[in-house]
């Protein structure tokens, strides 16, 4: 694992920051990420042959679900990618473990979903602003095709900008 520490440690003391009235009353810029900067992943599911399939919107008798994600800020992206990056000594390159990165994104940015509407066991629990490991396990128990669809739609925004 990389050992380079972030420069965040060099931040000014919090009491100095509180003195800055301009920053306290300034509205966030339009590109700044706030708790309201969210996007939705819509999911249409239909049961057939004992399993759930992801279908196109408007398909007859399909269940509609929605997952709400918060956008990641630049600093969050760097920190998460650092956590998911390893050095491949054979190929002598850095590689990002996308499975690890997807898990970090889900645990940090998934705000809510409607899959718990009829099943309280699928309720998401958060501690300190992130999903608990138990909630991650709940997510990980979804069918792989549903998980992959969520990852694809989610990464269209996170990695490709939508």
């Amino acid at each position: 694992m990389p050992v380079v520490k972030s420069r965040k440690e060099n931040k000014k003391a919090p009491e100095q920051k509180q003195d800055r009235v301009d920053e306290q009353i300034m509205e966030p810029g339009k590109y700044e990420v706030t708790s309201e900067t969210t996007f939705d992943v819509e999911l249409f599911l239909k049961e057939g042959d004992g399993r759930w399939m992801v279908v196109n919107p408007g398909t007859d008798s399909a269940e509609e679900h929605k997952l709400v994600f918060r956008m990641w800020s630049y600093d969050e992206m760097v920190e998460m990618k650092k956590k998911a990056t390893t050095y491949d000594a054979t190929r002598r390159i850095h590689v990002i473990d996308n499975d690890a990165l997807n898990r970090l994104k889900i645990q940090k940015f998934l705000q809510s979903w409607t899959l718990d509407r009829e099943n309280p066991r699928l309720k998401l629990h958060r501690v300190g602003g992130v999903l608990t490991d138990e909630s991650w396990q709940t997510f990980a128990k979804l069918q792989p095709n549903i998980i992959n669809y969520i990852f694809d739609r989610m990464n269209e925004v996170y990695e490709l900008g939508g």
Partner: protein, 242 residues
């Protein structure tokens, strides 16, 4: 059409007249409550970076380097952490932009207070700026292939130059020749009268032709005698001066 050409000319002039700055532009569109980069977006945003120099690369590599074990013998190599490298690149090289967060710098770096706000920008937007900046700071694989192909032609024995020279060949030939002969460097060449530039270019071309002719005239033809089956072998006969 003419407006587009004028716009391109203005941008090229900006790049030439400010060789220490790199301007990158991205297009952005709004999706719900978020702004994301989109090549067909209705908004255009611009960022100005300090040109990424050898010195910048050196200090960022030093700052983000760490040891990794390679092989079974416990050998260690120093590698650069790419994510932290990019973050420092922003702090070191981002000078200004059209976004509504003012960039404040001190002693050649973005101030910590300023980075605090910059780091809250939606990652895809800042990442799009950095990707564009990196394209203008490094040599891509495609460019490297073109350089290899054209330099093989340029340095071949029978070379008569390269048609549609790429940026690397053009830089090498132009700056190499002009610096060597007239002490004209990249910055002063921008303000050099085109007529005089063309005259000197013609003269340098003729001089190269003359040098090539002289070199090829000195070469002695090897006399070969055809043997059985039409195959040749070097002559063993003695040269008699007449």
């Amino acid at each position: 059409m003419s407006l587009a050409a004028e716009e391109i000319a203005k941008r090229e002039w900006e790049a030439m007249s400010n060789p220490d700055e790199v301007r990158v532009r991205i297009r952005v569109s709004r999706v719900g409550s978020i702004y994301t980069p989109n090549p067909e977006g209705s908004l255009e945003e611009e960022a100005v970076f300090k040109v990424f120099t050898f010195g910048d690369n050196h200090i960022l590599e030093k700052a983000t380097g760490y040891k990794e074990h390679v092989g079974d013998r416990g050998n260690e190599v120093t590698v650069t952490e790419p994510n932290e490298f990019k973050r420092l690149m922003v702090k070191r090289n981002l000078l200004s932009w059209t976004l509504d967060i003012p960039i404040e710098r001190c002693d050649g770096w973005m101030t910590p207070e300023c980075y605090e706000r910059v780091s809250r920008i939606a990652a895809p937007v800042l990442d799009a700026f950095i990707r564009e900046f990196e394209l203008k700071s490094y040599v891509t694989e495609e460019e490297e292939r073109l350089i290899n192909r054209q330099s093989a032609i340029l340095f071949s024995e029978s070379s008569r130059g390269v048609a549609d020279a790429c940026e690397a060949v053009s830089l090498f030939c132009t700056l190499g020749n002009y610096w060597e002969k007239f002490g004209i460097n990249k910055n002063s060449l921008v303000h050099f009268p085109q007529r005089e530039y063309l005259m000197l270019k013609l003269m340098i071309g003729r001089e190269s032709d003359a040098i090539r002719t002289k070199t090829s005239a000195k070469k002695q033809p090897v006399t070969r005698i055809a043997g059985r089956g039409g195959r040749t072998r070097p002559s063993t006969g003695k040269r008699i001066s007449l």
